[in-house]
């Protein structure tokens, strides 16, 4: 449906209405020219003012500062970084820290969200009420408050390394972070990874072959179960044959701290916890709405055809529910990525904290720094929506 000026059919054919204010095409053109003109004038005004201000304040413009030595440390770096590294390197470190939190947060919150969404539809009264309570509590508290709570009220007051809590053997929790066992790979571990790769490729082919077989002959082959067995057995065999090439290195009490193991900063743990618990509440509601949208008749018809419960779920309910779940789920994933910028409030060194915080303060290049930061988030948003749109097109209703 189209609305607005210029929609008059007579006007579109032209000729019948004389060129003048009564011709919708002329009017439409004048309006657009006026709006565009105003926008261009505004942009020109602001650019001119900014240039004047910059020269008055002696701030150089341009991205040259990215090559300058940063001179500050960052508490979590996924790539080599020292105080001698450049601002550009600091930008990359921040970006990677953002991506790591976002990806882990997305995976965990989608899993927890699906679990809670399904729980809320459970026929068990207690389970359904717990899920409902979770959703109502988590969604209605600001994310920043979640982060403050986990960081300042829970993780920071924990005891020091000497009196660490140990919820599981090899896992330690103290005011310096969460310490997990770290897998250490020996030289012979290549065989193990090759075995995993072979098993993966093999299962893909097996499942394809099984589907084709079913279409052609109607014979069912338990491809999923055989693949699962393959995925466990092949790497396991490789691990045994090559003589256990990797093991978990457990952290040990050293004099003041722990040695070995993998350490997650308390800032990181608080951020992931907060983002996951908050976003899972929203995802749960999306999942619930999606499953409820599949009419009962679909389920009953599938059961009447003789499909068993798990098959009904896999082939009838979930594919239809996904159609409703994917678009709002996409915006939740985008929200989580953008919300990871709240890291700055608890000093986790993400892109905003490192770049729009420390680098901006040190260089004073406000325009370049903010523009670059915004560009990164816009790009991330664009990539995520493209990926999710592609997936959505695959699950969408194919109308012929």
């Amino acid at each position: 449906m189209s609305m607005g000026e210029g929609q008059n059919r007579r006007g579109r054919q032209g000729g019948k209405v004389p060129l003048g204010w009564n011709n919708p095409r002329v009017r439409s053109f004048v309006y657009q020219a006026a709006v565009l003109g105003t926008v261009i004038a505004l942009v020109w005004f602001f650019t001119a003012t900014a240039q004047e201000n910059l020269s008055r304040l002696n701030i150089s413009s341009g991205f040259g500062f990215l090559d300058t030595t940063a001179g500050f440390g960052i508490i979590q770096t996924l790539i080599p970084y020292t105080e001698q590294s450049s601002y550009g390197r600091a930008f990359l470190v921040g970006l990677l820290n953002t991506l790591v939190v976002a990806v882990i947060g997305i995976v965990l919150s989608v899993m927890l969200g699906f679990l809670i969404g399904v729980m809320r539809l459970s026929r068990n009264w207690l389970v359904a009420k717990i899920a409902a309570g979770y959703v109502e509590i988590m969604r209605n508290i600001p994310l920043l408050l979640h982060l403050f709570f986990w960081y300042f009220a829970v993780l920071r007051p924990l005891p020091g390394p000497a009196e660490s809590l140990s919820p599981l053997p090899g896992v330690f929790l103290n005011n310096r972070g969460l310490i997990l066992p770290e897998p250490v790979f020996g030289p012979a571990s290549t065989a193990f990874f090759v075995a995993i790769a072979i098993a993966l490729v093999g299962s893909v082919f097996l499942i394809r072959w099984a589907r084709k077989q079913q279409v052609e002959t109607g014979q069912l082959f338990p491809a999923w179960r055989v693949s699962a067995a393959m995925l466990i057995l092949l790497p396991g065999l490789a691990w045994l044959v090559t003589g256990a090439p990797f093991e978990l290195s457990f952290a040990e009490h050293a004099e003041f701290d722990f040695a070995g193991g993998m350490r997650l900063l308390p800032e990181f743990v608080a951020l992931v916890l907060g983002l996951t618990l908050y976003t899972a509440g929203f995802i749960a509601e999306i999942v619930r709405a999606g499953i409820l949208s599949v009419s009962k008749g679909q389920r009953e018809a599938a059961a009447a055809l003789g499909l068993k419960d798990s098959t009904v779920l896999r082939l009838v309910v979930i594919p239809q529910a996904l159609r409703l779940i994917i678009p709002p789920l996409t915006s939740q994933i985008l929200n989580l990525t953008k919300n990871s910028s709240l890291a700055v409030a608890i000093a986790y060194p993400d892109l905003v904290a490192v770049f729009a915080g420390t680098v901006l303060n040190q260089t004073g290049q406000a325009i370049e720094v903010i523009a670059l930061t915004m560009a990164v988030y816009l790009t991330l948003s664009l990539i995520t929506s493209l990926l999710m749109n592609w997936y959505n097109a695959r699950v969408a209703l194919k109308e012929r």
């Binding site: 449906m1 189209s2 609305m3 607005g4 000026e5 210029g6 929609q7 439409s28 309006y31 657009q32 709006v35 565009l36 926008v39 602001f46 003012t49 900014a50 004047e52 201000n53 910059l54 008055r56 459970s122 026929r123 068990n124 009264w125 207690l126 389970v127 717990i130 109502e136 509590i137 969604r139 209605n140 508290i141 600001p142 994310l143 920043l144 408050l145 403050f148 709570f149 300042f152 009220a153 920071r156 007051p157 953008k338 919300n339 910028s341 709240l342 700055v344 409030a345 905003v352 729009a356 901006l360 406000a366 325009i367 903010i370 930061t373 915004m374 988030y377 816009l378 948003s381 664009l382």
Partner: protein, 369 residues
Amino acid sequence: MGMEDITGRPAPRSKRLTPLVWAQRNLFSSVSNTILTLVSAYLLWLTIPPVLDFTIFSAVWTGTTREACLAPGAGMCWPFIWANIDQFIYGRYPPEEIWRVNLTFALGAAVIIPMLIPGLPARRLNLVFLLIVYPLVAIVLLAGDRPGLRPVPTSEWGGLLVTLVVAVTGIVASLPLGVLLALGRRSNMPAIRMLCIIFIEFWRGVPLITVLFMASVMLPLFLPEGMNPDNLLRVLVGVALFSSAYMAEVIRGGLQAIPAGQYEAARALGLTYWQAMGQVVLPQALRHVIPGIVNTFIGLFKDTTLVLIVGIFDLLGQVRAQLSDPNWTLPQGALTGYIFAALVFWAFCFGMSRYSTFMERRLDTTRER
């Protein structure tokens, strides 16, 4: 085949829903269900008693200083809340001028509550009052740059006052802006449509924090020398632009739900574009999206907490500031403060989301009729 004579018998009774029957049906209907129930009950047992114990049973309710809360095993320190309640609500607003804030709150409630009750008359007048008259009155009352009122700079505002000012400004500014953007995005003038799409997608694609940073450090560079709006005003502009993009998408959803025939019929009657939109299409579209608007407001209300990152003390920022008060250093201080803040935010947001559900249901039934 003897037909039994049942005339003398009492009517058959359905199995009465005693608590036991209910529990059997809803909690213990099968083995797996029983296991689920037991696991859930255990989880609740692990979480609920400690929370209740901390906030209520072991909490310290009376006292005026931190010493009252230092007893071993003491839970939430309510004296901390009572002692700082003025800061939490008004920030550093001068105590003798607090009546102005209270008057603004009361006026706001008097304008908004009648709007929320469906079926009351004069809602259009009320909307005009809320969107135009009330903001002006509130500015004069709070800032006080009129003769007879003592000026209070925004740096002294804080607490719930700032939270409400930011959230209400965001929503009041974003409604008209959002309507314009939504209409622009559906316009068939390509230049205007493109501009609106770029505007909306830009603000929706960036996090609010970067917008706030932009407002507080980048905006001054784009303004002529000497023009230096204060920090709160700059942040308000950023919040208004940000939320108008989200509002535009909500309103666009409502516009899409109105059949094209409505607009075409209005034009056929001789109404202009703005008359057709303002008197026929928008009143229907906006009614459809009341739940969406309330949800946007809830989101905005929660997002106002981010202003503390650029140095403005909203409720959460004020709680954090009071926590660093050396007179109130307590082991359970952080827990106390953040649980209190969570309770306040939760009460506001939960209330609003209930209202949104209520409106949704109401709109549904009118559609069915």
